[in-house]
Symmetry: C2
Subunit: 301 residues, 2 copies
C-alpha cells in the first residue's frame, strides 16, 4: 500500500467508513430513550466496532449514487448483519461469549434483552428503508423498493436464516463439499450479494453491470467464509475478537476440515482472482470493489 493510487483508495474507504459510522449512529434513538435498556443494548452491538464491510460494499457498488438514496441501505445491511450476530451468539444457538473483542450482548444485558435487541435491529433496518422522502420520483422509489425486496429475500429462510438453521443442524453430522457450499452461500453469501447487487440496483446498473456485480458477489461471498474457516483454525481469540478454534470444538463442517488448510488458502486466492476479473468491465466503483475484495481475503481477523 505505498503507491499513490493505493493510498487514495485507502483514504476513500476510511472516509466512507466514517460516514457509515455517523449514519449508523444517527439511525438509532439515543441510549436513554424509553424504554429500559433496549437502546443501550442495540447501540452496544451496532456501534461496537466491526469493519463495516457490508455497508462499504453497498457504497462501492452504488458508485457515485446519491447518498440519501444509498446510505439508508448501507445502514440497513449492517443492522441486519449485527442482528444475525446477536441472535447467533445466544446460548440456544452458538453460545458465544465474545464478539468483536467484547462480551456478547446476552452476556452484558441478559438473554431477553439480547433477543429483543436483535429483533429491534432487524425491524429498524426495514423501517428505515420504508422511510422514503416525500419528494422522490417514481424511479427513485422503485429502486428503493426493489433493493429492499432483494435484501428481504437474502435475509430469509432461503438465505441468512436458512444458512444458520443448516449450520446448527449440521453440527456433528457428515457434510460434503456441496452441502457446505450451499450452507455458506445462504449464511454469508446471500447478504453479501444483496449488498453488492442492491448497491447496483440503487444506481440503476445496466443488465451487464448487474451480471458483473453478481459474479463478483458470488466469488467474495464464498471467499469470505473460506477465509473465516482458515482464520478460525490458525488464529487466537486476541486476533479474532471472538472465540477461536470453536468450529473444530463444535465438530462443525468447515472448508479447512473438508479440503485441508493449504487447499482452503488456495481456494480463497482463486476466488479473489475471480472476483477481480468479474468487475473488469465495470465503469464505476471498480477500484473500491477490488480493494474490498482484497481486504476480505487478506484480512487477519
Amino acid at each position: 500500500m505505498s503507491d499513490p493510487e493505493a493510498v487514495v483508495v485507502r483514504l476513500s474507504l476510511e472516509r466512507l467508513r466514517r460516514e457509515v459510522e455517523q449514519a449508523l449512529h444517527d439511525a438509532l434513538p439515543p441510549e436513554d430513550a424509553w424504554p429500559g435498556t433496549i437502546h443501550r443494548a442495540v447501540r452496544y452491538s451496532l456501534l461496537g466496532g466491526g469493519k463495516r464491510v457490508r455497508p462499504l460494499l453497498v457504497l462501492a457498488a452504488a458508485g457515485g449514487a446519491d447518498a440519501q438514496e444509498v446510505m439508508p441501505f448501507a445502514v440497513a445491511v449492517e443492522m441486519i448483519h449485527t442482528y444475525s450476530l446477536v441472535h447467533d451468539d445466544l446460548p440456544a444457538m452458538d453460545d458465544d461469549d465474545l464478539r468483536r473483542g467484547r462480551p456478547t450482548s446476552h452476556k452484558v444485558f441478559g438473554e431477553a434483552i439480547a433477543i429483543l435487541a436483535g429483533d429491534a435491529l432487524l425491524t429498524r433496518a426495514f423501517h428505515l428503508l420504508a422511510e422514503v422522502p416525500r419528494g422522490w420520483d417514481g424511479e427513485q422509489v422503485r429502486r428503493r423498493v426493489d433493493a429492499t425486496a432483494l435484501l428481504g429475500e437474502a435475509c430469509g429462510t432461503g438465505g441468512l436464516i436458512g444458512g444458520q438453521v443448516e449450520d446448527l443442524e449440521s453440527e456433528g453430522r457428515a457434510v460434503d463439499a456441496g452441502a457446505l457450499e450451499r450452507l455458506h452461500r445462504a449464511k454469508t453469501g446471500a447478504l453479501l450479494r444483496a449488498c453488492v447487487v442492491g448497491g447496483g440496483i440503487l444506481r440503476g446498473a445496466s443488465p451487464a453491470e448487474r451480471a458483473a456485480l453478481e459474479a463478483y458477489a458470488s466469488a467474495i461471498g464464498l471467499a469470505f467464509q473460506v477465509v473465516d474457516d482458515v482464520l478460525d483454525a490458525t488464529e487466537g481469540a486476541d486476533q479474532l475478537g471472538k472465540t477461536a478454534g470453536k468450529d473444530a470444538a463444535a465438530d462443525k463442517a468447515t472448508y479447512v476440515k473438508i479440503h485441508g488448510l493449504e487447499a482452503s488458502k488456495a481456494l480463497a486466492a482463486r476466488l479473489l482472482a475471480e472476483a477481480l476479473a468479474a468487475i473488469e468491465p465495470l465503469a464505476a466503483g471498480r477500484t473500491l470493489l477490488a480493494a474490498l475484495a482484497r481486504g476480505i481475503v487478506e484480512r487477519r481477523a
Copy 2:
C-alpha cells in the same frame, strides 16, 4: 346475532377470515422446503389457529380497496404478531408452554429454531411488503411504502418491542396506571393502530377519515389489553388456549390489579363505546370495524 344485518356481517367476516388463511398459507414456502425444520416451525405458529383480528382490522379499515394492494399488508401484520408471540413465549422471556391451545414453538422445535422462526416471520413480513408488482403506478407504490413505514415504527422500540421490554422490566415493580397505559399502548396498541391506520392509508383515506380511524384504534388498542387482563384473571387455560393466571403469578402489573375487576370491565365497555362513536362519520368499512370492536371486547378467550 339474529337480525339479518348481523348475519350478513358475520358471514362477511367469515369469508374474509378464510381469504386471510389462504393468503397466509400462500405467503410461506412449503413445509419440506430447504432447510431443515424451519418452515415446519414457521407454519406451525402462523397457521396454528388464531382469530386473525389484526388482518381483519386491516381489511375492514381498507374498505373496498384492491385485494392485491391490501392483502399482503394483512398477511404481514399477522406474521409480525405471530413472531412477537413466538419470541415472547421463549424461556428467556415469558417462558410459556401453551399458546393458542397448543405447545409453544420452542417446546416443539427447541429454542434455537423458535428464535429463528420468529426472525423468519418478521423478515418475511417486510419482504412481502417490498414485493411490489411491476405494473403499479406511483400512487399505489407510495401508499404501500407509507403503510410499511407506519408498520415499521409500530413494531420498533417505541412500539411492540418497547412494550415487551417495559413489560419484562416491570415484573415485580410497582407500576402506576399511567405507566401501565404507556406499556400497553406500545405492546398491543401500536400494532393494532398500524393495522387500522395502515388499512386507511392503503385505500387513500382522507385526513378526516384517518383521524376517525386513529381514535377508533386508540380505543380498541387499550380495550384489547384490558379484556386480556380480565380474562387472565377469570378464565382457565382451556378457554384461553394459553396459561391462565400467569400475570398474577409473575407479579405483573395488570388493569385488574390496579383498578379491580369490575372497574376494568367498565373501562372496557367505555372504550368500546368510544371506538363505535369514533367511526360514526366513516363511509366505508364502518359495519365491519364495529363488529370487530365488539368481538374484541366481548370475547371469552
